[in-house]
């Protein structure tokens, strides 16, 4: 999907946080339709704040955030249904008594609005979304009975059921084994290409996504760099953010300090 010039997410000198605590400061960033953008940075660098901001769960303290050309100072905004979101693992109780199809149907609820019951059409959309992630055979399974990777696929299907323009994923590979991590990121890349989705993927795992994304955004409260991976992943830029915790191996694998303890 070729990049169009219209920015669908536009941070304009935006600062986010709570009174007295700045989580993200003076962020200026444009994300264009059809881009695959990876957001990286150490723990506490504001990655999840960026995510909450894009979802409209946090208003900027200073500056502006415009999404789909809508000034997002207004938190309750209809554009949100256009952003499919995969929350961090651990936010949701994965033993909740819910079937796979019931989970994916929830992706329709925001767009339906109050007082409207899901129709056969919504069911078709949900089943379609399940097919896109290769989980159509599990629609009546209990969510809690699935493996971590399968659950992640179901949550991606829930995001797809929103029929989003943007897919926003917060640490989608956390807690998965290496093979499953690759499968999940591959699925995201596939959806990006096949459905033309703009993807914003937040991760601590630089090596997992560096060859797949169009651009990387490097955060540590401030925006340190944004651009093609080759321009961002330079030792002098990375060491500004990761300091002495940064190790770059001979085979160009980047190892950073918070790789193994990112759990909350």
């Amino acid at each position: 999907m070729p990049s169009q010039s219209l920015p669908i997410i536009h941070f304009d000198h935006a600062t986010f946080g709570f009174p007295g605590v700045v989580a993200l400061e003076d962020i200026s960033l444009e994300i264009h339709s059809g881009e695959f953008v990876g957001v990286i940075g150490p723990n506490g660098s504001g990655k999840t704040t960026l995510c909450r901001a894009v979802l409209g769960l946090m208003a900027p303290l200073k500056g502006h955030l415009r999404i789909f050309d809508c000034a997002c100072d207004e938190l309750r905004c209809h554009h949100r249904a256009k952003i499919g979101y995969l929350p961090q693992k651990g936010v949701v109780d994965r033993n909740f008594p819910v079937t796979v199809l019931e989970t994916v149907m929830m992706g329709r609820y925001g767009a339906l609005g109050l007082f409207t019951r899901p129709s056969g059409n919504d069911r078709t959309i949900a089943l379609d979304a399940l097919a896109h992630v290769g989980m159509e055979g599990h629609r009546d399974s209990a969510l809690g009975h699935l493996s971590g990777g399968q659950q992640q696929r179901v949550f991606i299907a829930r995001a797809l059921a929103q029929q989003p323009q943007v897919l926003l994923l917060d640490e989608p590979t956390t807690g998965l084994d290496i093979t499953t991590q690759h499968n999940v990121v591959e699925l995201v890349q596939h959806l990006h290409e096949e459905l033309g989705l703009t993807v914003l993927l937040i991760t601590h795992d630089i090596n997992m996504i560096r060859s797949r994304v169009d651009r990387l955004v490097l955060l540590k409260t401030r925006l340190y760099a944004a651009g093609p991976p080759a321009d961002v992943l330079k030792p002098d830029i990375l060491s500004q953010v990761y300091g002495k915790d940064l190790v770059i191996t001979e085979r160009d694998t980047i190892i950073v300090e918070d790789y193994h303890h990112h759990h909350h």
């Binding site: 949100r80 936010v91 008594p97 929830m106 925001g110 767009a111 339906l112 009975h145 493996s147």
Partner: protein, 274 residues
Amino acid sequence: MLDLLAYDFIQRSLLAAALVGALCSTIGVFVVLRGLAFMGAGTAHAAFAGVALGFLIGWPPLLMALLFGLATVWITGWMEEKGRMKLDVSIGILYTATMALAILFIGLMKTYNAEVYGYLFGNVLAVTSVELLTIAGLSIVVIGAIVLFSKELYFIAFDQEMAEASGVPARRIFFLLLTLVALTVVISLKTVGAILVFAMILIPASTAYQLTHSLSTLTWYSILIGITCSVGGVLISSYWDVPSGPAIVLLATLLFFVAVVFSPKRQRRSLAVN
């Protein structure tokens, strides 16, 4: 046992029990899934304080119960939202504070008032026609609201932030849920009492939780269990002449443990490997 059913008061109490059973077990699904279990207990004690104040100052006790119940759920909900305090801490504080108020109000009454204690333990066999009509009317309101907002209520129980992010007015739905919990407690006060209403909210849904992995099935099981226990409890109570509240709650508890032992979840959990 059948000849008991010929009595008006037995018919009334069976109807009241069925209504309260259905109501508590329906709201209970969302209370259990959203992790508000302790909230039911706190609200019940607050409502009882309201009843005591009502008797003390001569205002309608159920109206006062409603005001106290609503104040408690809204304050705790607000505190959770602001992230000031963990929900169980703020509930714990309000729970004991309202209980202290109830004891204070009762202490301030010059005479012993048996009717106040009726609200503490409940007596479904003493429900009047007017009370039955009130229960029925309010039950329709609460269950109607649950049906109307069921998809949003399920969504916030599962994942409130995701619900909010996808455009569901999650905050308002959460406060609606809290309000419905307070209403349910007040409606149930006269029949099962302030101490036991909590069990009626908690146990049927928790029992159903043992038996299924589907949200919709869970809800139907919970309602079925709730009605069965309340009606069964009333029959036991009138047949063997034991207090109705404990009969209902102990029957529900028995069913809960049976469900835990025979839970398909327990048997399948060992199979759920990566």
